[in-house]
Amino acid sequence: MAEQVRLSKKDRISIWWRTTFLQGSWNYERMQNGGWVYALIPAIKKLYKTKEERAAALQRHLEFFNTHPYVASPIIGVTLALEEERASGAPVDDAAIQGVKVGMMGPLAGVGDPVFWFTAKPILAALAASLALGGNIVGPILYFVVWNIVRMATMWYTQEFGYRTGNKITEDLSGGLLQDITKGASILGMFILGALVNRWVSMTFTPTVSSVKLSEGAYIDWENLPAGPEGIKQAFEQYEAGLAISETQVTTLQDNLDMLIPGLAPLLLTLFCMWLLKKNVSPIIIIFGLFIAGVVFHVLGIM
């Protein structure tokens, strides 16, 4: 095994700072890939000295990546540890590194989105906004300072945590732990991809398939509800009991598709894209095609 190369704290600080620009070249093809490689450049410079090794490392890290921009840091930490091992001669292959990235990005986005976007930001922003409405400049200052301290601390400490954890994983090479992680990561990665295709690719077909007039008593009879709060209460009770809101039941094409399995259309679209890519169709053409399809289908009333 070649001599062990280690990243210094200065390298890791530099990478942490560069992670700020993770989304800078966000694109529809591989999303945060450009920012990801930009963040890792100090490590690539330190760990790999020949032009060929550097080219391979740059290409390896230009693969697809997307997560919540703050929780990318622990993934970067783990990746740094894996790259250290690879540079020192350990058998860490491209699939292992990509597997770790893909396996971690979905679940971590699942942590980052609710914590930062749905909880911390609305609470802090609402507080700051209420101060600003009164003409008080403390509101914006408070928002800016608190938000950035929380963000920067989160990114630094989770990156360090990922780095230490990653080192532990790679220490025990003889036990086959790394091979297990490679296999495990690709299992986790494929599992998460299946989930993400279903959840994050959105397609809704709007044509009405059938419009059935419901029989009396199957829907809430709005005309005969008592007035005021009592009426609202009864309406909710009837809704709970399973009564429909309007007297005609409209079934759209999407409802029919969802009866097979929700997310069928996104799955077929993904498989179609995979097929096109294998046929060497440029991703840019596919992307433009999908935008045009979106506009055309919408104008035709299909989506």
């Binding site: 080219a55 990665g189 959105s202 991703p283």
Partner: protein, 268 residues
């Protein structure tokens, strides 16, 4: 109200920062609470802009980029409506009409960010070429080109508004057809599939396809969060690894028993 040249330059710098942050989502210069306040500071109209900042921030509380979905653009909404407020010279009385413009501006900004994000696709292809040559410096430069494009996305409209005044902007926004904005948003929902398709093409093997199917089906249960799905995925991987080891050590000569389905597929 008339702006002097220094004020115009400062407004453009603030707009540039807001545009960059609209994509980075780190320092939050694009949030109305910060962006409108900064415009107020550089133009000397602090109090009306603070009130605009607070009002707009409350409207924009839930605007977030989740996954690959693009939220209404807070950057253009805050910068442009603050400039229009300042130009109108109405002070606090102009806040409500500036707010009315903010939402169509947010949609216009969304279209611009979709445009820049599509251009960025070309930029990462340029990065690919330099990566193959091991040219680190060029990749860094192109990352910054992409970032600056996002800054110009707001700085250019801000400059145009200052140049032409608020009236024409209003007319233009009202002329933008609904079908186009809705259609592009629908296209944006589908385009995400391309990225996933590329990763799957790279990771897929006969061994791991079943896990893709399990993940896809479990995702239809909307009560399971992504964290929950992650935990299920980790458990599945651990179970699979443990079982495949048992098969290896205990199976002895009966290697064929380990994966009858796989053999069937192989021989088919």
């Amino acid at each position: 109200m008339d702006l002097n040249i220094i004020q115009i330059i400062l407004i453009l710098i603030v707009a540039f920062l807001a545009g960059i942050e609209g994509i980075l989502d780190q320092w939050h210069f694009h949030q109305p609470i910060i962006a409108c306040t900064l415009i107020g500071l550089v133009t000397g109209e602090l109090i009306p802009c603070l009130i605009l900042a607070g009002t707009l921030q409350l409207i924009a509380l839930g605007w977030s980029n989740i996954g690959a979905a693009v939220a209404p653009d807070a950057a253009l909404a805050s910068i442009a409506s603050a400039i229009i407020l300042v130009l109108s010279g109405q002070g606090e009385a102009g806040v409500s009409s500036a707010i009315a413009l903010a939402v169509p501006l947010a949609v216009a900004g969304l279209l611009l960010t979709i445009l820049v994000r599509t251009i960025a696709t070309g930029i990462v292809h340029i990065m690919d070429r330099y990566a193959a040559q091991g040219n680190i410096r060029a990749i860094e430069i192109w990352q910054w080109v992409a970032i600056c494009l996002q800054g110009l996305r707001i700085a250019i409209p801000a400059g145009l508004i200052i140049a032409v005044g608020a009236g024409p902007v209003r007319t233009l926004l009202e002329a933008m057809p609904q079908w186009l904005t809705d259609g592009l948003a629908i296209g944006g929902g589908m385009v995400v599939a391309v990225g996933y398709a590329m990763v799957i093409n790279m990771m897929a093997s006969k061994e791991v396809w079943p896990f893709f199917v399990i993940g896809f089906v479990l995702a239809t249960v909307s009560e399971i969060t992504l964290v929950g799905l992650g935990l299920i995925g980790i458990s599945l991987a651990l179970v699979y690894l443990a079982l495949s080891k048992q098969g290896g050590s205990g199976g002895g000569g009966n290697a064929n028993i380990g994966d009858p389905v796989g053999d069937l597929i192989d021989n088919y």
